[in-house]
Subunit: 219 residues, 2 copies
């Protein structure tokens, strides 16, 4: 009987194997033939699913972002306002060695995305999704009276997402400034700036609770 091939499954399998190699070693150095040899597929099979390196990179990055976003969703589910925001920012910051490896892949991806519309669109879509989430948390924080009245929500979203990108670069190229203690400081700095006490003469949200940075236990 002829073997039935689940093409979607095989595609995922190839892309997962290649993502691992890219994360560990970068993308420039490996050729399609090497990739094929190392993940144990014939070159002819690989190019049936991925005709060129760009298409592999697109699949690998989509998979990488999916993994990150699944983890994110698990971290913020059931939380709202500043607590949700803090948990989400924490999940995006490069804590730990796996996150640093991911950051290497992300930097490679940025560089390719500059000259490639498909990659750039994947990047944009993912970034917009993060922005919507942070925006929602900030709106909730305002509703709940947690947010300093001086905070401009759109500016805060931009500051948070941009900062998260900057930390990916630093984690890879300046690890001595990206230890867990530094990332914790950045979290504290951000959360304090969002919860900052009201300025004199501005709107009277004095009653807003000054919640201490919460650290809900992770099961």
């Amino acid at each position: 009987m002829p073997k039935i091939v689940d093409h979607d499954e095989r595609r995922r399998e190839i892309s997962a194997a290649i993502t691992q190699i890219i994360v560990a070693e970068g993308f420039e150095r490996v050729t399609m033939r090497e990739l094929a040899a190392r993940i144990g597929f014939a070159h002819g099979v690989i190019i049936k699913y991925f005709p060129n390196k760009q298409s592999i990179l697109a699949a690998a990055v989509t998979q990488l972002y999916s993994g990150v976003n699944e983890r994110l969703a698990g971290q913020v589910e059931g939380y709202r306002g500043l607590e949700g925001l803090e948990r989400m920012f924490r999940a995006l910051l490069p804590f730990g060695s796996e996150a640093v490896l991911r950051a290497r892949a992300v930097i490679a991806f940025w560089n390719y995305a500059v000259h490639n519309l498909e990659l750039s669109a994947i990047h944009r879509e993912n970034n917009l999704m993060w922005r919507r989430e942070f925006h929602r948390f900030l709106v909730e924080a305002r509703e709940d009276g947690e947010l300093g009245s001086h905070v401009d929500i759109d500016a805060a979203v931009n500051r948070i997402v941009v900062s998260s990108a900057g930390w990916q670069m630093t984690a890879v190229l300046l690890p001595e400034f990206t230890r867990a203690a530094h990332l914790e400081q950045e979290l504290t700095t951000l959360m304090e700036s969002l919860r900052a006490p009201e300025k004199q003469g501005m709107s009277p949200r004095k009653g807003a609770a000054q919640v201490a940075p919460s650290e809900a236990p992770i099961d």
Copy 2:
């Protein structure tokens, strides 16, 4: 008479021409032969000065950073404290189309630096220099009573430099969030967070002047 060649000058000339091409078009696509042809030098001459693409990239990036740092120095000279800091941060943010082109080159550079010690060292050295400058401005701001007592200087330096990196990426891949108005917002957000009014019950720097974001005229 044999022509006397100023090798340093020629090296600079080649590197300047190549920097322009890299900034405009990226680095992956061009070969050494193409570069040679386009800047009007024989391939044999180029490789005498730059034996491979990595060495060209190193020279190009050194030149790019030199240009940025010269401009920076001109912007901050004679300023101190928060005013100096704001002017320096402003000069690093990607205002204008030339800065966006530079940001493209910077992203390519990050990606190469991940796998190359020489490039990574150039990046580190430059980054450390910026950090020292921001640190100095913050120390001056504290001396002058401008800085909120809640501000941790090292954390602030990290936040500023990391953020500046993040904006380079955004300028290239998400230009719709990196317009001049967004960068102005980020400047305001940062400066407000540094000048923030004292928290209740903390150290009594109540007398600290609340200086409005200054905008010294540029001649």
